[in-house]
């Protein structure tokens, strides 16, 4: 399965046999099982085998190496709600748990805004993170930065260096100014000093230009992009595998300076002229830097440096 998923060009049966050191008969049986699980595998006499689509049936097996707590739904209200139920039932054991949906019927953006996705075109999942509840402000700062970096790096590991993903502060991923992915984080208190975060991620993988003409308002469609629209034909499972891998590494990192450097490089904010709002006051100027703990440093037109806490600042 892994060989087929990661292959950039079709593989012959013989080549696959050599990679797996298995006889052709066993490989044919494995392929049958993959097909039964919903995988579409194209077999052309001249070229060989190519995986067109990894069926949901193989997702949970393939992703077991990241976590034993994995729920794959064909259709669900929202992966955040599914993860919340899982956290409520297993408590702190839920750390690293993942819920995935092929289709979301009640996907959420911020504050109850809905998240629209044509069936099968997006990678929609939520991952649990469990940690201490004592320093909530620094925890969420850390999670926000780390998640944006993990998702961006995870995607680029699959697509290669031709794609450059930017981070729009604090939680959107963009390619050429159009939205590729969104992140929504919610936390619940588990009691006994423990906090669980539900990190919800939506990545536009296979949305095609023609999908955008249907039900989506044109102002939304103009700001959207997908990996397919950027010339990248990849399977959702492969992207998820790579992003989960990055999350596991980055969330466990003790030194965040590399993550922050990566974040700065991808940030669309540093050096930009922006208008910001903080507690009802409006600020205009150039963003000088962003600090992990304390927030934005802005140079106003008069040359004054203003420090604005990230937690309460919005871009207008």
């Amino acid at each position: 399965m892994e060989h087929l998923l990661c292959a950039r060009s079709p593989l012959t049966l013989t080549a696959l046999g050599q990679m797996l050191t298995q006889p052709t008969s066993m490989i044919l049986q494995s392929l049958d099982r993959l097909r039964q699980a919903g995988c579409e595998i194209e077999q052309q006499p001249a070229l060989g085998l190519q995986l067109d689509h990894a069926g949901l049936g193989v997702w949970s097996d393939y992703l077991q190496r990241h976590t034993p707590l994995l729920e794959v739904y064909q259709q669900i209200g929202s992966t955040q709600d599914a993860l919340r139920r899982l956290i409520e039932s297993v408590g702190i054991q839920a750390d690293g748990a993942v819920t995935i949906a092929d289709i979301q019927t009640a996907g959420r953006g911020r504050l109850g805004r809905s998240w629209i996705a044509p069936p099968g075109s997006c990678l929609l999942f939520s991952r649990a993170w469990v940690g201490r509840a004592s320093d909530i402000a620094s925890t969420i700062n850390r999670l926000t930065f780390s998640t944006a970096v993990a998702v961006a790096v995870g995607i680029e590991q699959v697509t290669g260096p031709n794609l450059h993903i930017n981070i729009k502060w604090p939680n959107d991923l963009l390619i050429d100014g159009r939205k590729l992915a969104g992140i929504l984080v919610e936390t619940v208190n588990l009691g006994q000093g423990q906090l669980a975060a539900m990190i919800g991620v939506g990545i536009n993988i296979n949305i095609r230009p023609e999908d955008l003409t249907l039900d989506i308002p044109s102002d939304v469609a103009d700001q959207l992009t997908s990996l397919f629209m950027c010339g990248q034909s990849v399977d959702r499972l492969q992207v998820l595998d790579s992003v989960l891998q990055q999350m596991n590494v980055i969330y466990q990192a003790t030194d965040l300076s590399t993550v922050l450097d990566e974040w700065r490089q991808r940030s669309q904010l540093i050096g930009q002229e922006v208008r910001l709002q903080n507690n009802g006051q409006l600020y205009e100027g150039q963003v000088v830097d962003l600090d992990l703990d304390e927030g934005l440093i802005l140079r106003t037109e008069t040359g004054t440096l203003v420090h604005l806490p990230a937690a309460t600042t919005t871009i207008v």
Binding site: G112, A137, I140, N171, G280, V288, V306, H307, T312
Partner: protein, 153 residues
């Protein structure tokens, strides 16, 4: 011009110790940093140094407000564990988490506080009946700010 890194460290120092004003001076320059109290943003101002004067030592750190605190009125307080925006319900058209007169226990979720687009459910951590709601949905709140007053059960 002041080193940005140094400036950042100073800002961090102020925030960590909850200082509102910091005045530093040496031969070449003088830095005055002001950090807002509730409802205002910090505004660091860098000015040229006048005649050299001894540097002013930072004031001792203020105690972080402890929650919950019992007051004269016999009511307990639920305070915000973080800076952010207060939301009374999970979405604009949803029912508020709590209303006046509601009975709550330590695990009752009383509100959401949003910071950096992260939505955090805040548990009551105390038991009783909601007597006063001191904040409005959408309002910016500070660390330690009193959100609710609770009559202990």
């Amino acid at each position: 011009m002041v080193d940005l890194k140094k400036l950042r460290e100073l800002v961090k120092l102020m925030a960590t110790n909850d200082l509102t004003e910091l005045d530093l001076q040496d031969e070449t320059e003088r830095i005055t940093l002001k950090r807002g109290g509730p409802g205002t943003a910090a505004e660091p101002v860098v000015v040229a140094a006048p005649a050299p004067v001894a540097a002013v030592a930072p004031a001792p750190a203020a105690e972080a407000p402890a929650a919950p605190v019992e007051e004269d009125d016999g009511l307990l307080e639920i305070t915000s564990p973080m800076v952010g925006t207060y939301y009374a319900s999970s979405s604009p058209d949803a029912k508020p988490f709590i209303a006046l007169g509601d009975t709550i226990n330590a695990e009752t979720v009383v509100c959401l506080v949003e910071a950096m687009k992260v939505f955090n459910e805040i548990p009551a951590e105390i038991s009783g009946t909601i007597e006063k709601i001191l904040v409005e949905s959408g309002q910016a709140i500070e660390f330690g700010q009193i959100l609710f007053k609770v009559k202990p059960s």
